[in-house]
């Protein structure tokens, strides 16, 4: 079955081609079915491969599809790597991808770009599968760029709105910055090791000097910063919410943004050698987690809150990577994929019910009207807040425990970030589903539960969010931690917990208590006091204004990077373009014109004159050959 791995990305590619070329002709229902079935086929195959891999002794299979680049020293075969890490990502991508395809059939049913949407979505899944399956950095890079392209296309899906186009471009440019780092990292890997295949590179990793390894690790991390929205390249992700909600769920929460995590886990050899790089990852991660969580506190757009929460959760995953808890990071990727996809799809269902309204100040009291959405969103919110026994509790606790082991200071910041998460998620929940309805009459009239194609994925994801924690039960409970056992063969530096049981219990207790207290505070503020966020233009206290405006980071980038670039471009335009380049081009033209108008006089139509000039010319050439 593992030999058939090539088929897994092939199915979405076929779906993409059919929908791309014939999407408009075959009609909405057929195109939705083709897209979903192609992902389902990949999912079934992925499950079979996963089961087979789990049963076999050999944990790492390389499947050579064809020879790709053959150029002197540069030999790059097109190989797929099937190991516990990639097979787990296969399941997440195709499984959640399939659910979101089903959901999109309902969500996008009234959209005229229906077939185009599924075309992009299938293409995205194809590239994402390429990214995780490749056995060398170049295939990963192809997938990496491909998902970036699909993300761009889908953020700007409603291209008639210019603000959405701007958001798409912003995402693209921000990602390019990161990609440059990634590409330089790959080139450095090739220069250092003479190969970019994982198995060869990681075998030789010990032979290179630590300085080189640190440089490689940091360059790769720059790529991860861009794709996984870490400081300073995170600003594109909140704006990416311009895309349709299923896209936000699939690309900007569950799969694409975790590509950076995947890449670092895959390259964990480098990071375990380089202390500096690991520390950098941990610090950037924890700062991002805290920073984004505080911004999330005062946002009023339901999708923006979830976006900042995604940035914050990604920060936690990087924190885990930085402290060497690779399997915990992958565990959190998995549970986060469950509950964040659920939350986004739930938010989509709310937006659907509200007829396109995204402002939580205009919602309220929806719990009775859209029961399934409310119940599933509640599960997701509890899971992300880290209350036991929901999945988020286990993954977050594992990360925080490993962080505590590494440095109590980082642990403190991480814990604060996760407390803030609990606060703003329950703020979202209370404002949306409880209290009185604050929208218009038509909206209240329009309220309805979404069709079953949308509620079915919600229910499945809610179940997964609840039980997902079983994948990685804490070791000190004397239960099997499937996640870390499974990934054992992929990760070089093991770090079994050295904390004693009392400390582990204490950390767990603190985390739960902190989450419970924050939720209670949110309850008092938004349920008992019935506080509603201030309207646009109302006077806010100083610090809140700063946070509400996202710390003015966008404005800061604008002033520090965009404006000087603009000034420089104008200066270059005036000097280089107009004076030098235009002058050169126009000069060539006018010279030719002047010379031409002189020589034109020679051509007066007298054949005799032509022939004489020809003879003189020939004689001249002959003389020249004699002389030279």
């Amino acid at each position: 079955m593992i030999k058939l791995i090539g088929l897994v990305p092939l199915f979405p590619l076929i779906g993409f081609l059919i929908n791309g070329f014939f999407g408009k002709k075959i009609g909405k229902s057929v195109s939705g079915i083709i897209a979903s079935v192609s992902i389902l086929a990949s999912f079934i195959l992925s499950v079979l491969i996963f089961v087979e891999l789990n049963g076999s002794e050999e944990k790492s299979h390389i499947v050579n599809l064809f020879s790709w680049i053959n150029s002197g020293a540069l030999q790059i075969p097109f190989e797929f790597l099937v190991d516990p890490l990639s097979s787990l990502f296969l399941l997440i991508i195709t499984g959640i991808g399939f659910l979101i395809h089903i959901y999109s059939i309902g969500y996008m049913s009234h959209d005229e770009g229906f077939a185009r949407f599924f075309t992009y979505l299938n293409l995205f899944v194809f590239f994402m599968l390429l990214l995780v399956l490749g056995n060398n950095y170049l295939i990963m890079f192809v997938g990496w760029e491909g998902v970036g392209l699909c993300s761009y296309l889908l953020i700007g899906f409603w291209f008639k709105n210019n603000a959405y186009n701007d958001a798409a471009r912003k995402a693209f440019v921000m990602n390019r910055i990161g990609d440059l780092g990634f590409l330089l990292g790959i080139i450095l890997v090739f220069i250092t090791f003479g190969s970019i295949s994982y198995n060869e590179v990681f075998l030789k990793a010990g032979t290179a000097s630590t300085g080189v390894i640190t440089t490689i690790a940091l360059l790769l991390f720059v790529g991860a910063m861009g794709k996984s929205a870490q400081i300073p390249l995170y600003t594109w992700l909140p704006d990416a919410m311009a895309g349709p909600t299923p896209v936000s769920a699939l690309i900007h929460a569950a799969t694409m943004v975790t590509a950076g995590i995947y890449m670092i886990v895959r390259s964990n050899v480098f990071y375990s050698i380089s202390e500096v790089a690991s520390e950098t990852v941990a610090i950037v991660g924890v700062v991002t987690a805290l920073f984004a969580a505080t911004i999330g506190l005062f946002q009023n757009d339901i999708k923006k809150i979830l976006a900042y929460s995604t940035v914050s959760q990604l920060g936690l995953m990087f924190l885990a990577l930085g402290v060497g808890a690779y399997s915990s990071a992958v565990f959190h990727v998995t549970t986060h994929a469950f509950f964040k996809a659920l939350l986004f799809l739930g938010a989509g269902s709310v937006i659907h019910a509200m007829g396109g309204e995204q402002d939580i100040r205009k919602m309220g009291g929806l719990s009775g009207k859209i029961k399934i959405t409310f119940m599933t969103m509640l599960m997701g919110t509890i899971a992300i807040s880290g209350l036991p026994p929901f999945s988020g509790f286990f993954s977050k606790d594992e990360i925080l425990a490993h962080t505590y082991e590494h440095s109590p200071l980082l642990w403190m910041f991480g814990s604060i970030a996760s407390m803030l998460t609990a606060f703003y998620m329950f703020r979202l929940l209370f404002l949306t589903f409880f209290g009185k309805f604050r929208g218009t009459h038509e909206q209240e009239h329009h309220l309805h539960e979404s069709p079953s194609s949308m509620t079915f994925p919600l229910i499945v994801l809610a179940i997964l969010s609840v039980v997902g924690g079983l994948l990685g039960l804490p070791e000190f409970w004397h239960m099997p931690n499937w996640m870390s056992n499974n990934l054992e063969s992929v990760i070089v530096r093991k770090n079994p917990s050295t904390l004693n049981h009392e400390t582990e219990w204490m950390l767990m207790g603190i985390a739960v208590l902190a989450a419970a207290v924050t939720i209670y505070v949110a309850y008092i503020i938004y349920r008992q006091k019935k506080t509603i966020p201030l309207k646009e233009g109302d006077k806010m206290p100083g610090l809140q204004t700063v946070i509400y405006n996202k710390y003015y980071v966008d404005e800061f980038y604008d002033a520090v990077i965009r404006k000087p670039l603009d000034v420089l471009s104008v200066a270059f335009h005036k000097f280089f373009d107009i004076q030098i380049i235009d002058g050169l081009v126009n000069g060539v033209g006018s010279t030719v014109k002047t010379v031409g108008s002189g020589i034109r006089l020679l051509q007066q139509g007298n054949i005799g004159f032509y022939i004489i000039s020809m003879v003189i010319g020939i004689v001249f050439i002959i003389l020249l050959t004699f002389l030279i």
Partner: protein, 103 residues
């Protein structure tokens, strides 16, 4: 020596023919005469080829000349056709009169 005559005489004859042709092309104004002079130059070269071919006992020069003559025949047909068309339209073949592309 070819048939008791030095190669120099062949060369001389060829050169004289060529110069007559070249001067004719340059000096005359009648298109048909210019055309004949061009043929003369061509055949001066043919004569050279044939004489060297005989001198070196190598048949390829003569084969080459056959090709040139075949092509020249075709060229003459085309050239004369063009000239007759020009005459039909302009009623003259004087090159000084034919000095512009229009009319």
């Amino acid at each position: 020596m070819i048939n008791g005559i030095s190669i120099n005489y062949y060369l001389l004859l060829s050169a004289v023919l060529f110069i007559i042709g070249a001067v004719g092309v340059m000096a005359r104004r009648n298109s048909i005469i210019i055309f004949m002079c061009i043929e003369l130059m061509l055949n001066a070269v043919n004569l050279l080829l044939v004489s060297f071919s005989t001198l070196h006992n190598d048949a390829s020069g003569q084969v080459f000349v056959f090709f040139i003559m075949a092509v020249a025949a075709a060229e003459v047909a085309v050239g004369l056709a063009i000239l007759s068309m020009i005459y039909r339209n302009v009623k003259t073949i004087d090159t000084d009169v034919l000095s512009n592309l229009k009319n």
